[in-house]
């Protein structure tokens, strides 16, 4: 079975578009676009809703704006609180990402390239971390943060976010770093490079693809994080965007149009980030499934 498989590989690559993937009929397009419509309709409802007035929403809950008003969006964009919360989310997500990547690469490097007593135990420890969702640890975590005096500070959500993202990062990066050929390391050693030198000059550049995938996962996780900020941040000035949206929605619950505008604007950064890294995200998932 193996031999014919490898023999036919070049031919099949050429034929890829012919056999398995038949050209789609019109029905396929109808179903596919209907599905896409269902996926983005609620998102469009939020964005378009922001252009309406409350009177319009009350009289015609599912209608289009007539006329379109940008005042809700202008209001939100000119509110310092909105920008403050975007800033908080950005700081939290960026610091979490950097922390996860730096600590994750260093620990994964040790796990992948050093032999020492307790390595297996260390790997198992991180792997077991996958089984500890934040939900389980949230109350003691909150108390710990409180005792450290970090409530209402972004550090109080960044540190746990880094810690909880480490297991995934280590699990993804260790095989990646292990795959770097031993010969490279030996050649570097012959040239007089120490292991640490090898780490910075060879490992860091070579692990970029894996690092980008884990970094994106950490960034999205931190950007959308809800439960931890809910427990740790009680002061509106320290809120991240998800908490800000919720606070805004309950504070202005009668002002639906403005809530929709706030919600719409708060989703733009995530959507821009996603469209920039879409290939990486999907590619990372593909890798995870194949591996």
């Amino acid at each position: 079975m193996t031999a014919p498989l490898t023999a036919t590989t070049p031919r099949t690559r050429k034929n890829k578009n012919k056999s398995k993937i038949g050209a789609a009929g019109p029905m396929t397009y109808v179903i596919a676009y209907a599905f896409v419509g269902i996926c983005i309709a609620p998102v469009l409802y939020i964005i378009i809703g922001g252009f309406r007035t409350n009177a319009q929403i009350t009289s015609d809950p599912s209608g289009f704006p007539s006329p379109w008003r940008i005042s809700n969006y202008v209001d939100v964009l000119s509110s310092p609180m909105f920008w403050q919360q975007i800033g908080n989310s950005a700081i939290s997500a960026i610091c979490t990402t950097i922390g996860v990547v730096v600590l994750g690469v260093m620990a994964s490097y040790v796990l992948a390239r050093y032999t020492f007593v307790g390595r297996g135990a260390m790997y198992s420890l991180f792997a077991a971390g996958l089984m500890f969702p934040m939900t389980v640890a949230i109350t003691p975590l909150y108390i710990l943060i409180k005792n450290l005096g970090l409530t209402n500070s972004l550090a109080g959500i960044i540190l746990p976010q880094i810690a909880f993202a480490l297991p995934t990062t280590v699990i993804i990066l260790v095989p990646f770093l292990r795959a770097i050929p031993k010969e490279l390391e030996e050649a570097a050693a012959i040239d007089g490079t120490s292991r640490l030198g090898f780490f910075f000059r060879m490992v860091v550049p070579l692990s970029v693809p894996g690092v980008v995938t884990t970094g994106i996962l950490a960034f999205i996780g931190a950007w959308n994080s809800y439960m931890l900020p809910l427990f740790v941040l009680n002061n509106e000035a320290s809120y991240t965007l998800p908490l800000g949206v919720q606070a805004f929605a309950s504070q202005y619950s009668v002002d639906t149009a403005r809530v929709l505008a706030f919600t719409a604007l708060s989703m733009i950064p995530a959507l821009i980030f996603f469209s920039l890294f879409e290939r990486r995200i999907v590619g990372g998932l593909t890798g995870a499934v194949k591996g």
Binding site: T135, V136, T139, Q246
Partner: protein, 341 residues
């Protein structure tokens, strides 16, 4: 300097046990000079290991392992969340949990969500993935758009759907406009309807993720199989049934695992929508919302932590059973197939 570096790279080649005795005991070292150098290299290696992995381990122990252990500890106390817990009650919290009908309800909801997620999302995601795996115009744009619900945060999803599903919201308005006023119901506050509303929102949010996962799985199915089947005269449906679905098995089982664990831990969406628009999670409570409502929000930290432990144990048992009986088939299958080859 260069000497010790050369030594350290040599050290990587020797088996770990030999090296640790040379560094630690140093009795068997061949010569005093060798012993000194080995000792230095070994010390250097240990320093590197500590330096590189230390920060991650400390963070992980402090913010993951320690809180989890503390959850188990606090669960034995009637603790209000401040000071040192002193009111040790043993297993009383656990007895209360198992007697509380509100917890039973939450547990039933979790079970319902687990089963319905698998039943609703699995087949739908496979069908959509098969559809999108065909050659069609705008395919990459479609793939981006169906991923949008997964990328936006739970709060945005909750706010948008919460507003749409209100009694006077857009969904009911559309139903009335298209001549189905009888279908316009109280989507969020009627407990019998609410869980279905939640399922629709969950499906909407997580279907794109499943589709992308299955599309990735489909890409890894070898082309030759379809060629061989089409030469043998197999129809499209025959090919899907006897090639695609079996070979998509591992992806499906991994997706199902993620879906089950996610459904057991579900908190955000329920807490956001039913806290914001209905102010009661009746009909949609989950173990996690029960934990927060009866733990932190009620001031009973000890009790909340006992709930967390129960939630964790249930997830753990299900995960272990799943890995033992379902995921193992993948490794076994791979082994037997390897033997056949």
């Amino acid at each position: 300097m260069s000497d010790s570096q050369g030594e350290s790279s040599l050290a990587t080649k020797t088996p770990p046990r030999g090296r640790s005795t040379a560094g630690g005991g140093a009795i068997t070292a061949p010569s005093p000079a060798g012993r000194a150098r080995r000792g230095r290299a070994d010390w250097r290696k240990r320093a590197e290991i500590a330096l590189l992995s230390g920060p991650a381990i400390i963070m992980f122990l402090a913010f993951v392992i320690f809180p989890v252990v503390m959850a188990a500890y606090y669960g034995f106390f009637k603790w209000k969340g401040y000071g040192v817990p002193t009111d040790f009650v043993g297993l009383e919290n656990y007895l209360v949990i198992f007697k509380d009908t509100a917890f039973h309800e939450a547990l039933m909801h979790n079970g319902f969500i687990v089963v319905m997620s698998l039943v609703m999302q699995g087949p739908a995601a496979v069908a959509v993935a098969l559809l999108l795996n065909q050659k069609m115009r705008g395919r990459s744009l479609i793939r981006v758009l169906i991923f949008v619900p997964y990328v936006i945060s739970e709060v945005i999803v909750g706010t948008g759907w919460g507003l749409m599903l209100q009694t006077s919201g857009a969904i009911n308005d559309v139903l009335i406009k298209i001549g189905l006023p009888g279908w316009a119901v109280d989507w969020l506050s009627d407990p019998d309807v609410a869980i279905w509303s939640l399922m629709v929102i969950l499906t909407w949010k997580y279907l794109g993720f499943a589709v992308i996962l299955f599309l990735a799985g489909l890409q890894s199915i070898p082309e030759e199989l379809y060629e061989a089947a089409s030469i043998d005269g197999a129809s499209y449906w025959q090919m899907q049934r006897s090639i695609t679905l079996p070979l998509l098995g591992p992806t499906m089982r991994i997706w199902a695992f993620l879906s089950i664990i996610g459904a057991l831990q579900l908190f955000d969406l329920v807490y956001i929508i039913w806290g914001q628009y209905v102010a009661s999670t009746a009909g949609t409570s989950t173990m996690a919302t029960y934990m927060v409502a009866n733990g932190r929000n009620a001031g009973n930290y000890g009790y909340g932590n006992a709930v967390a432990v129960v939630l964790f144990l249930i997830s753990l048992v299900i995960a272990l059973v799943y890995q033992r009986f379902v995921l193992r088939r993948d490794t076994e299958g791979a082994l037997t197939e390897g033997k056949k080859k």
